[in-house]
Symmetry: C2
């Protein structure tokens, strides 16, 4: 079966490490001899509890999460965090500074506007496009903001933060849905990191939130209990029934990541993969064009264009014929997008780079 | 592997139909020859879309859902619906009538209190216990309530509604997390039905909401967009990335349910299973005792007691030795609870009934 698997450049849900899937398949009906599938275990029983704690331990180890921070597992995806963040942390006068680098950042801002009064610290669409992330001196940060929100990697635009904004004493909050774990990270710089699992950590259906514990004390209590970060933290994410299988699969992916050498090794591979594509683009003599400013080019979602939408359609179709799927750019922007998250092997990207060169020769 | 599976009486997540699991296991690495796992497909691509629509079609068929109602898939479990229901449907003066028949109903009421002003139409704890559901003439219903909320089956207390309250023109809302699909249902009686999947429909991580379409027009717009029923309905539940694998597994469970004969046949089996246990209790000469009033005894979660907590502990341990697990009552009430949702075979309950008789003989 596995031989017939495609090279899958889907932007999310996206390709998963084969060893993580094979492990799940093997024990699908009877988890570790426990007499039932992991899907059928109680979320409060010892078998799932061990998986839960192992997932937390692996994330803590792989991201070097300090004791100042706590990991939460939540539901609803990053889009729910767009709402829950200001619901939990706005003040009566301020619902956060927002650095708007793309579609998802704009959606986060829109939800903050529903529940309070956010401030736009930078918006790349003022240029007419979102082709870069801002520099520090471009930011209009508030003095009294409860937090500054960024989207660390912009999947649609193909841009990424490599240096994070300096927000002084204001907590930095990052939506890292599409680049968490792409490299080692200094967690101490962040007040909150949140990430839907379905791009770089596992399947859809579970959201990881890493929150500085002192911020829990500052969270509001005028929202439903099920949505309060402080309650979720107090219950170790077991306030109600957790999506056990998504957590279990995240665990399998983290086990794979550790086996492969962890974030330092995966960063090396990720940089190599991105370089393969950007080099193919830059050395194509203009046949392929990347609209993104060089210093902001995403390592996770390189985007590029051909001369016409018709050529792009043809490129995508011929790539699919060659077993490489998911290369169509987001419907809002078009073009080509190669989502090359951690689970995409170097060999898959080499195949794409070779295809790009061959396609250009034949064109 | 499957031979070694236990008879699993877990209250949720709970046992799943073996054919539904086996299907998932077989195609886990490569779904229907598509070159990837269903987990790795885009939630907007044709392969997942077909699964999504098939799940909706099966639910529509099995529950005879009329065109007046729409199915939504949401995240966060029933506990999130406790909050989202009043957030969407309260009026400025009223956050719903609540019929409090147990722990979960009480939690639903508590969340309504956070966002508005609910009214308690009946509370079984006024008796000091929750050992029954109310009769129609006991209800103190408001004239101007936006809805009346019930918990159709109370997993912890082992009680269940068999006739639903008459709420006249006020929409009836039911948390059916633990008994949806246990029998054919007249959906037209309900304004909203919601149910976490992990008891009677599939794994944890997906919540089904069945809403009368005219109520969508009455929902509020002063809450975050991601939480608005009307937006989720307009997007066919694809406002953001849906937990694709949980939906897929619900589909597999519904395919199994249809193959087995649908709700009419499953009702026959469910009544047979419940009768096996209640008969064993009632004919034990007081060795086993069911605290629940006869007309309110749950078909899904029969609960019973032995003379002492020590005997109950021994019963649970010896049952586990015999391969029957998950029989411990909820930590808040103790005792024995046999959760016998749709996926529990009659043979599993026969084994338990035999064990109960043998245990009594040996005692």
């Amino acid at each position: 079966m596995s031989e017939q698997r495609h090279v899958n450049f889907n932007p999310g849900p996206s390709t998963l490490p084969l060893p993580a899937l094979e492990r799940a398949q093997k024990e699908f009906l009877n988890y570790e001899g426990s007499g039932m599938s992991i899907l059928e275990h109680s979320h409060r029983g010892p078998v799932y509890t061990a998986v839960h704690e192992q997932t937390i331990a692996l994330l803590t180890e792989l991201l070097s999460i300090p004791p100042t921070h706590q990991i939460l597992f939540m539901q609803g995806g990053a889009s729910s965090q767009f709402a829950l963040l200001p619901m939990n942390l706005r003040t009566d006068s301020h619902a956060g500074d927002y650095i708007v680098t793309g579609t998802w950042a704009k959606k986060a801002l829109a939800e903050a506007k529903v529940v309070g009064t956010p401030h736009v610290a930078w918006d790349g669409a003022a240029d007419g496009t979102w082709t870069r992330v801002p520099k520090q001196d471009e930011l209009d940060l508030s003095q009294n903001a409860p937090y500054v929100h960024i989207t660390s990697n912009n999947t649609i635009m193909g841009t990424q933060f490599f240096d994070f904004p300096d927000t002084a004493n204001v907590p930095l909050v990052a939506d890292m849905s599409s680049d968490i774990l792409w490299r080692p990270l200094d967690i101490s710089k962040f007040g909150i990191i949140y990430a839907g699992a379905q791009k770089n950590m596992g399947p859809s259906g579970i959201t990881v939130v890493i929150i500085r514990k002192d911020l829990l004390e500052q969270t509001r209590t005028d929202l439903p209990k099920i949505f309060r970060y402080r309650e979720i933290a107090a219950a170790n994410s077991l306030q109600n029934t957790i999506p056990t299988f998504p957590v279990y699969l995240v665990r399998n992916v983290l086990m794979w990541l550790k086996d492969e050498g962890g974030p330092a090794e995966i960063e090396r591979r990720n940089r190599k993969k991105a370089a393969l594509i950007y080099t193919a683009v830059d050395e194509s003599g203009g046949f392929y064009r990347c609209p993104v400013e060089a210093r902001s080019r995403s390592v996770m979602n390189p985007v590029f264009r051909l001369a016409t939408p018709e050529m792009e359609k043809d490129f995508i179709a011929k790539a699919a014929d060659a077993g490489m799927v998911g290369l169509k750019g987001h419907r809002s922007v078009g073009g080509i997008r190669a989502s090359i998250y951690n689970a995409m092997p170097v060999a898959g990207v080499e195949q794409l780079a070779t295809f790009m060169a061959d396609y250009q020769k034949r064109a």
